[in-house]
Subunit: 340 residues, 2 copies
DNA sequence: GACTGGCACTCGCTACCCTGGAGTGCCAGG
DNA sequence: CCTGGCACTCCAGGGTAGCGAGTGCCAGTC
């Protein structure tokens, strides 16, 4: 029992109207707004069918229909035509991103841009460490038994960590070690560094083995154990937009979820494979976020992906617009990173 | 017409009860709850007086009384006894802050801690650049005409910036310049660096003047023009707490204000002079935040102040508890920074 | 067989009224 | 200066009625 053309039209119309008005849509209004060639009664029959199939539902007997998660899913997969961005929007994006001075700035601008363009909550993951490679390692003597390790990645991220040494060092020695570790590690992907670090310890001059072990331990910790990826968030005020009122009562759990970085990461971080992902309502694993939809994608210079970004909003969002905004922003950010 | 002792007691009781119950407090209930030696009628007279003086008001004729901003102000200045933290709270603070691996981590932990302890929205400013001094400057060649400048401050902040050079350099030269700028600038407070940077350009070997100017320009920009201080935020979910409902309708403007870094800075950043600042309702300059109160203070290693932190909540907050939590957290963070 | 018009029915929403209770202001008396 | 009492105000909550939108179903038409 496949859905015939007209039933699909009806579903599409319901989704579009509901997204636009935030109110259950009835058969009569639907026929009028969309100049359908059939009568309201016919549409009612189609609606009854769509309801049986689980694509729409009635909030109460004798109210209009509202799409279900399943209905949105079908809409997104089959019914929505991609809405290209207006030239004005494109320009806005470009203007907003140009002039960023460093990585922090890029990320902040991006997340605010995304929130503004989509009118929803935006999340941007900083370029992931494990997908970046090392551009430079720096050792700075803080005292005779403490070093500061600074790592700079090709995506512009900087991480630093204090190293406690078992013995004292002088500047010449620090300098020598710096040279060695840079030789061995620069250009390597972070995910492949552990073996090289091991090699460092194995090959080092025996007189320096204690020190090198300390450094290696901190390096490993910095590079690998640190899953603690950073995120930026913007647009939480959009959660309170007028017309999102029944959403309103549930604003609390959403804000709570958004404060958990781990949750955010799950949300938009692992968007590795698919080009763009849409998770609707209950498709979300995170319990607090049932009732919201997430549109996310990866970004990065060229074809490589170094991080994720996306937006979160009520299931009744404007999917075509959101999808094109998210992918456009990801594309522009990728270009920015490629230049830098 | 100074307020006599009993009137002050009445005001204090009104504030405490209102903060506890979130409901207008009437004369009878007040007498009972606080075992006052006088009758309700007497209290009513005092209330009428306090109302004339602008310390309390009635939401509607024949409802109980509610403190005004002015009433809270008097309460905070004169009537509240400081509530010392419980040992459990102290331990919680310590446990929460111990184990932070880097500055980012310290700031994040602090802001979450503060939000959790006070049950309000917390804001922490990263150690301010202009109040820090330079620990180390690093130059990394990215290509033959581009350098990456990395600055590390004594508070652990790291800033980086790309420098475009007018001519090519080799590694030896980069290294020489690195040595020079470190000699001249390490240990200097950022606010006093501009003259030293100028000196650098003036004294440099003429063959390198072009390059040094580029570097100096970027340095100046990084150090001075960059007012763009960073902030961390947590606890926005607390805005939706039950019992904060009339606060509820106005949640939107608050979230909006909180997304403006500039606003946040004004809020808690400039807490330079006074040890601890409480701004109540309309005392706030920021229009969106009328109706909220802000408790903020500075923090830093030892006696120096490198940044601000604070919380924001409804005017009907528990001031004594909030004040002691904010100052305790600031003190602990200061100690952490002093050790690092 | 598919579509249409009509009709009875359901049910949420709003407005309205009413009453109960809490709280006040004021006054006369201690 | 304080107290008890009293009349008054006004919010909150609950119950009711009417309205309107929308549905499901049925008989009729192309």
């Amino acid at each position: 029992m496949p859905l015939d053309e007209r039933k699909l039209d009806v579903l599409r119309a319901i989704v579009e109207d509901y997204v636009a008005t935030q109110e259950p849509v009835g058969s009569r209004a639907l026929v009028e707004r969309h100049h359908m060639r059939v009568s309201a009664a016919t549409v009612r029959n189609d609606m009854a069918f769509l309801e049986d199939e689980g694509y729409i539902r009635q909030p109460h007997t004798s109210a209009g229909r509202v799409p279900t998660d399943r209905g949105y899913r079908l809409f997104v997969d089959k019914l929505s035509r991609i809405k290209p961005l207006s030239p004005a929007e494109r320009r806005a994006i470009e203007r907003f991103l140009i002039g960023a001075v460093d990585l922090d700035d890029v990320v902040h601008r991006t997340v605010r841009l995304l929130a503004q363009v989509t009118g929803q909550v935006a999340v941007v993951q900083y370029p992931s460490l494990s997908r970046s490679s090392i551009r430079h390692l720096e050792l700075v003597g803080v005292s005779t038994t403490r070093l500061l390790l600074v790592m700079i990645t090709d995506t512009g991220r900087v991480e630093q960590r204090v190293i406690e040494l078992p013995e004292t060092v002088d500047d010449a020695e620090v300098s020598a070690i710096r040279t060695v570790i840079n030789e061995k590690l620069v250009g390597k992907r972070l995910s492949e560094t552990p073996i090289h670090i091991q090699a460092l310890v194995d090959e080092v001059d025996p007189t320096r083995i204690g020190m090198m072990s300390s450094i290696a331990a901190v390096l490993l910790e910095t590079l690998i154990e640190r899953t603690d990826e950073r995120m930026a968030l913007a647009g939480t005020a959009n959660l309170t937009r007028a017309g999102v009122l029944d959403f309103h009562g549930s604003i609390r759990p959403i804000l709570e979820a958004l404060e958990e970085e781990v949750v955010l990461l799950k949300l938009i971080g692992s968007a590795g494979e698919e080009p763009l992902r849409v998770r609707i309502g209950d498709e979300n694993e995170i319990e607090h976020l049932r009732g919201t939809s997430v549109v996310s994608t990866g970004y990065g210079p060229g074809a490589t992906i170094v991080g994720g970004l996306g937006v979160l909003g009520p299931t009744r969002m404007d999917y075509p617009a959101t999808i094109s905004a998210v992918s456009a922003v990801a594309r522009y950010v990728g270009e920015m990173l490629a230049q830098a």
